[in-house]
C-alpha cells in the first residue's frame, strides 16, 4: 500500500500542441479512494494509464510511495488495473484469469490456489472458477476483473470506468460492493468515471478534469456545495445547476440586491457574509447559480422576502419528486463543453430556462403561473469572464 503523487503530469500530442492531460498535480494518500471524473475526452483515462505505465509520460512525474516510477516498467509498479471492458483472457478459466499474474511471478502452486480461492470467496465466484469468461454474466465478469486485481495485493488499484458496461441496476449494486471492498482492503484506489453519481458516492475525494485541466479536488460534498467554478457547478448534480446572468447592486451594511432580468432579489448581510470577494463585484454582472433543489414554491415558504414570478413550461413527475421546467425573465449563462447541461438551456436572451426539483406532492401543472422562492442562502456566484467561483 502506498500513496500516489502526480506532479505536473502532462500528456501531449503533436509536439505539445494538443494536451490530453495538462500539468496535473494530485497527492493521493495511502488508502484513499480518489475518483477522477469528467466528461468523455477530458483526459482522465489518459492520466490513469500514465500512472499504470501504459501511456508514455510527456512531462511531469508519478510517484508511488517514495518511488519515482516514470522509469519503472508497468509490471514493477505494483499496481493492478480494472479495465472498462474487463480485458479478461477469453481462453482461460476464471481461475487462470485470476491466477495469471501469480503464475507469471512464479509463485508456488499451493499459494496461488489459496490466494485465488480467497479472492473468489470474497467476490462470491467460488462456483465459477472453472468457467470461461464467455459463460459468465456481465456482473460476474466484472467481479472476475476485480478478483484479478485484488489477488495480487497491489499497492494501488486503478479502475477505468469499471461499471460502465453494466446495466443500471447492477451498476448500483456493484458500486456499493466496490466501495465496501475498498474500505475493507484499504488499498489506495484511483477510480476513473464519467458518471457523477459514482463520483459523488464512491470517493473520499473527487478530482474533476476538463480538457486535460484539473478543475477542483475535494470531498464530494464539498465539491457539490462549493464548486470552484461554473464548470464544476454545472457538471455535478442532476438536473444540473441553473446558471443565470444577474447584476449585483451596491453592497452596503444592510446587504445587497441582485437583479435577475426584471426581478430583484434581496440578499441580507448575513447571507453574503461568507463571500468576502463579492464586494468587488458591486454594480457588476455576475453569474448566479442555484441548484434545482434550492428552489421552492412560494406557498411553502411564507416568510420569504423575494419571489420570482414565472410560468411553467413542463412538469416531469419522477415519482419520488417533480422536476419543474420554467422560464424566467433573465439571461442564461452557458458552460461550454459540459455534457450534462440540459438542452433546454439554449434559450433566447431574456428568457432563461430553469429547472427546479420539488416535492412530488406539489400540485403544479404545465401552463400554471407560479411564484417561486430561490433559497438565497444557497446561491452560488461566479465571475462571468473567468467562470471562477466568487467567495
Amino acid at each position: 500500500m502506498a500513496s500516489v503523487s502526480l506532479e505536473g503530469l502532462t500528456k501531449s500530442y503533436g509536439n505539445g500542441v494538443l494536451k490530453a492531460v495538462n500539468d496535473l498535480n494530485l497527492e493521493i494518500e495511502d488508502g484513499e479512494f480518489v475518483v477522477l471524473v469528467g466528461p468523455s475526452g477530458c483526459g482522465k483515462s489518459t492520466a490513469l494509464r500514465m500512472i499504470a505505465g501504459l501511456e508514455e509520460i510527456s512531462d511531469g512525474g508519478v510517484w508511488i510511495g517514495d518511488q519515482f516510477v516514470n522509469d519503472v516498467h508497468p509490471k514493477d509498479r505494483d499496481v493492478a488495473m480494472v479495465f472498462q471492458n474487463y480485458a479478461l483472457y477469453p481462453h482461460m478459466t476464471v481461475f487462470d484469469n485470476i491466477a495469471f499474474a501469480l503464475q507469471i511471478a512464479g509463485m508456488p502452486r499451493d499459494e496461488i490456489r489459496r490466494r485465488v480461492e480467497d479472492a473468489a470467496r470474497t467476490l462470491e465466484l467460488t462456483d465459477y472458477l472453472k468457467r470461461r469468461p464467455g459463460q459468465l454474466s456481465g456482473g460476474q465478469r466484472q467481479r472476475v476483473a476485480m478478483g484479478r486485481a485484488i489477488v495480487r495485493q497491489p499497492a494501488v488499484f486503478l479502475m477505468d470506468e469499471p461499471l460502465s458496461n453494466l446495466d443500471a441496476k447492477l451498476r448500483v449494486q456493484m458500486r456499493a460492493e466496490i466501495s465496501k471492498l475498498q474500505r475493507r482492503l484499504g488499498v489506495t484506489t484511483i477510480y476513473v468515471t464519467h458518471d457523477q453519481v459514482e463520483a459523488m458516492t464512491m470517493g473520499d475525494r473527487v478530482a474533476l478534469l476538463r480538457d486535460g485541466n484539473l478543475q477542483q479536488v475535494a470531498p464530494p460534498s464539498v465539491m457539490y456545495d462549493e464548486p470552484a467554478n461554473m464548470f464544476v457547478a454545472a457538471f455535478l448534480g442532476s438536473p444540473s445547476m441553473n446558471l443565470l446572468w444577474g447584476e449585483l447592486g451596491e453592497v452596503s451594511a444592510s446587504g445587497t440586491t441582485l437583479k435577475l432580468g426584471g426581478q430583484t432579489l434581496l440578499l441580507t448581510t448575513e447571507k453574503i457574509a461568507g463571500l468576502r470577494r463579492l464586494g468587488a463585484y458591486a454594480n457588476r454582472a455576475v453569474v448566479v447559480g442555484i441548484r434545482p433543489e434550492d428552489i421552492y414554491p412560494a406557498a411553502d415558504r411564507p416568510g420569504a422576502t423575494s419571489k420570482i414570478r414565472s410560468n411553467i413550461d413542463l412538469v416531469e413527475a419522477l415519482g419520488s419528486d417533480k422536476v419543474l421546467h420554467f422560464s424566467i425573465d433573465a439571461r442564461q449563462a452557458l458552460v461550454k463543453s459540459s455534457d450534462s447541461l440540459d438542452e433546454l438551456n439554449h434559450g433566447e436572451a431574456g428568457k432563461a430556462h430553469c429547472v427546479a426539483r420539488l416535492n412530488a406532492r406539489t400540485p403544479l401543472r404545465m401552463g400554471d403561473d407560479v411564484d417561486l422562492v430561490f433559497d438565497t442562502d444557497r446561491l452560488h456566484f461566479f465571475d462571468g469572464e473567468t467562470g471562477e467561483a466568487i467567495r
Binding site: L54, F83, G134
Partner: protein, 298 residues
C-alpha cells in the same frame, strides 16, 4: 363484419399458399441448377474413384460409374509401381515435408505477425510494405539462384530446401493473415498482461497465440494443402527416386513414349494422393468454425 373477416382470412391463406408454392418452385429450380453443375464438375473425380476399384480393362468402357466387378488389384499394382521404394516412401516424404512446413509457418509467421500487429518499432511501415510486396512476387525470379545455392551446399535431394524457408516466414501471405487477425484483438488484453507482469514472449505465447487459433488453423490447413500439392519445388529439388514425394512420383506413371503404363494403378494412387487433402479439409472445417470466439468482452 364477422363474415367479412373470415372471408378475408380464407383468401389470405390461399394467397399465402400460392406464394409459398412459387417460392418453393424457385428454390427447386435453383437447387436443380446447382446440383447439375456440381455433378458435371465432380463426375470425373467420382468416376476416377470408382474406376480405381474395377479391373484395368473395364476402365474405358463408357460413362458408367458402378464397376461390374470390384478389385483392389490397382492399388497393389500402383503402390509398387517403381518396385522399391514403394509409394509408402513417397507418402512418408510428402507428409514429413508438409508437417514440417506447417510447423515452420505456424511459428515464424505468427511471430512476425505479432511484431507487425502489436509492437512498435522503427521503420515498421517500411518493413510491412516490403513484406506485403513479397506476397505478389513470382517465385521465378528467386528460384534459379536459390537452386544454385542449395545445389552448392549439397541440399538438393534433401527436404531442406523445401522446409527451411518455411521456418523463415517466406510465405508472407500467412503473416498478413495473422496481422489482420491479431490486430482485431483488444489492446486491453495485452495491457492487462503487462500489468500482470508478462514479458513480451509470455504475452505472445500465453495471450495472443491462443486467441489467434482460427488464423493458426487456417494457416495450418492451407500450408499443408499447398505444400502437399506443390510440384515445381519438389520437381526441381527431389530428383532421386528415394527422396521423391507423391506429386513427383505420380509422374512415373507417364511412359517416356507419352502413353500411360497403368491407368488403373495411376487412378488408385491419385485417389490416395488427394485423400489426405480432402481429409485435412473436412477435419479442419469443424475446427475452423469452432475457433475460440473472442468472448469475455462486452
Amino acid at each position: 363484419m364477422v363474415t367479412d373477416r373470415r372471408l378475408d382470412s380464407r383468401s389470405l391463406a390461399a394467397h399465402r399458399r400460392t406464394r409459398k408454392l412459387r417460392r418453393n418452385l424457385r428454390g427447386i429450380g435453383l437447387h436443380a441448377i446447382l446440383i447439375v453443375l456440381l455433378i458435371a464438375m465432380l463426375y470425373p473425380v467420382i468416376w476416377m474413384v470408382l474406376s480405381s476399384l474395377r479391373p484395368e480393362d473395364e476402365i474405358f468402357g463408357g460413362l458408367g460409374l458402378i464397376p461390374k466387378s470390384w478389385t483392389i488389384e490397382n492399388y497393389v499394382k500402383g503402390w509398387q509401381l517403381s518396385g522399391n521404394p514403394t509409394f509408402a516412401a513417397f507418402f512418408i516424404n510428402s507428409f514429413i515435408i508438409s508437417a514440417l512446413a506447417v510447423v515452420g509457418n505456424l511459428i515464424s509467421c505468427s511471430m512476425a505477425g505479432y511484431a507487425f500487429a502489436r509492437l512498435h518499432f522503427p521503420f515498421k511501415w517500411l518493413w510491412f510494405a516490403l513484406m506485403l510486396g513479397t506476397i505478389m512476387l513470382p517465385i521465378h525470379a528467386q528460384m534459379i539462384p536459390q537452386y544454385i545455392f542449395f545445389l552448392k551446399i549439397g541440399w538438393v535431394n534433401t527436404i531442406l530446401p523445401l522446409v527451411v524457408p518455411k521456418f523463415l516466414a517466406t510465405d508472407a501471405f500467412y503473416i498478413f493473415l495473422m496481422v489482420q487477425f491479431m490486430r482485431s484483438l483488444p489492446a486491453e488484453l495485452e495491457q492487462a498482461a503487462v500489468l500482470d507482469g508478462a514479458s513480451y514472449w509470455q504475452r505472445y505465447w500465453r495471450i495472443i497465440l491462443p486467441l489467434t487459433m482460427p488464423a493458426l488453423v487456417t494457416t495450418a490447413v492451407f500450408t499443408f494443402i499447398h505444400t502437399y500439392n506443390d510440384f515445381l519445388g519438389q520437381l526441381i529439388y527431389l530428383t532421386d527416386v528415394k527422396s521423391m514425394t507423391v506429386p513427383v512420383a505420380l509422374r512415373l506413371f507417364l511412359d517416356p513414349s507419352g502413353g500411360q503404363s497403368s491407368v488403373g494403378g495411376l487412378f488408385a494412387m491419385v485417389v490416395l494422393s488427394i485423400a489426405p487433402v480432402l481429409g485435412f479439409f473436412l477435419a479442419s472445417q469443424r475446427l475452423l468454425t469452432k475457433g475460440i470466439a473472442t468472448q469475455g468482452f462486452k
